[in-house]
Subunit: 211 residues, 2 copies
């Protein structure tokens, strides 16, 4: 795996997109595809595809293209889908509840094992078959269930404290939905979903079109 | 505005992050900041900041740094926050409802003006003060209210039809929360939030750390 560590995050960020397209091909029983066909579907160049996949050793055969099943499963392995990552959701408000029902987690190999909140009116309620627990139990739950990832859907005002709590509990991956960024120890992996950043980029592009 | 069209999307995608940090500074009554201090807060280099902001004509003064209010408002203008973009949410399921309550829309100058669904059990219900309408009214509502952006939180199976419907209704910006990508006319701006892509990048980084 040493070689993989040198691969740029730009390439890594494109892999889930390949994975999604390949997942569709698998669902449609397509067993083989050329880089040209895949490129045309994805709106990129065949050379980009070959270049990206070559970072991981290729997978294609000259004159044949790609075995869809193999490529799908290999990209899945690179992305860690076989690791059955265990997730807890911290913050059972509207967004937390929506994410607890998100069907693609399971499809992509992630399992929501626990949901936590601080509010007595929410603790004890059932969300998608899971009882919301008091955040005081986060640490013991994490140890017992070997939780990998905490999804943080708490208000911005408490995001830093909750993130630190998750780290203390032994969680190594943070999926942060707050607009705040987190300054955590180096061994913690943080992935941010800054929704309003995405909306503002849309606003920028619309402004340009209207000028 | 001609010059701005040449600015790379990589720079544009960094602007909302500057905007967020500056918004915090404004909230904390900080009126002046050097590129070095801002860089240190944001975990990037001062040279990156100067380079990014120079794309838009600079805004800084040698030896003084940046006027926080001015920089915040100028970046806001570039991003289109003064345009008061009008949004409709199509798909009033859990994610749609969560987004309808998202406080940062208003803070960033976006207004949710309508919510639409196809389900008779949802149509007529009130979400954050807005009555959910039948999607049949999308076209007339859009014309009357000059809607700019449709947030699509519908199931993947209907995303393409709903996106086309929004375009026919005259909407020019699509914020797509489905894992499917959309092939729409060139004058439509599409911004995707592919949640499972983001989660899989987190999974990749965790896999690397564990190796």
């Amino acid at each position: 795996m040493e070689e993989r560590k040198k691969i740029s995050m730009a390439v890594i960020r494109r892999l889930p997109r390949y994975y999604r397209y390949l997942s569709d091909l698998v669902d449609n029983d397509i067993s083989r595809i050329s880089s040209k066909e895949l490129a045309s579907k994805m709106g990129i160049t065949a050379s980009q595809i070959r270049q990206d996949l070559n970072c991981f050793g290729g997978f294609g055969q000259q004159g044949y293209g790609y075995h869809v099943d193999t490529l799908f499963s290999e990209i899945g392995k690179i992305l860690g889908t076989q690791n059955n990552f265990k997730i807890v959701i911290i913050g059972a408000g509207r967004l937390g509840r929506a994410l607890a029902h998100y069907p693609n987690f399971i499809k992509r190999g992630y399992e929501v094992t626990g949901i936590f909140d601080v509010s007595n009116t929410i603790i004890g309620s059932i969300i998608n078959g899971i009882e919301v627990m008091n955040i005081d139990y986060l640490k013991s739950f994490t140890k017992l269930n070997k939780v990998d990832i905490a999804v943080l859907t708490v208000p911005s005002s408490s995001i830093r404290d909750v993130a630190l709590l998750a780290c203390e509990a032994g969680i190594r991956g943070i999926w942060n939905f707050s607009p705040k960024e987190l300054d955590l120890p180096d061994d913690i992996v943080v992935e941010n979903v800054h929704l309003s950043d995405s909306l503002m980029v849309l606003g920028y592009s619309l402004t340009q079109k209207n000028d």
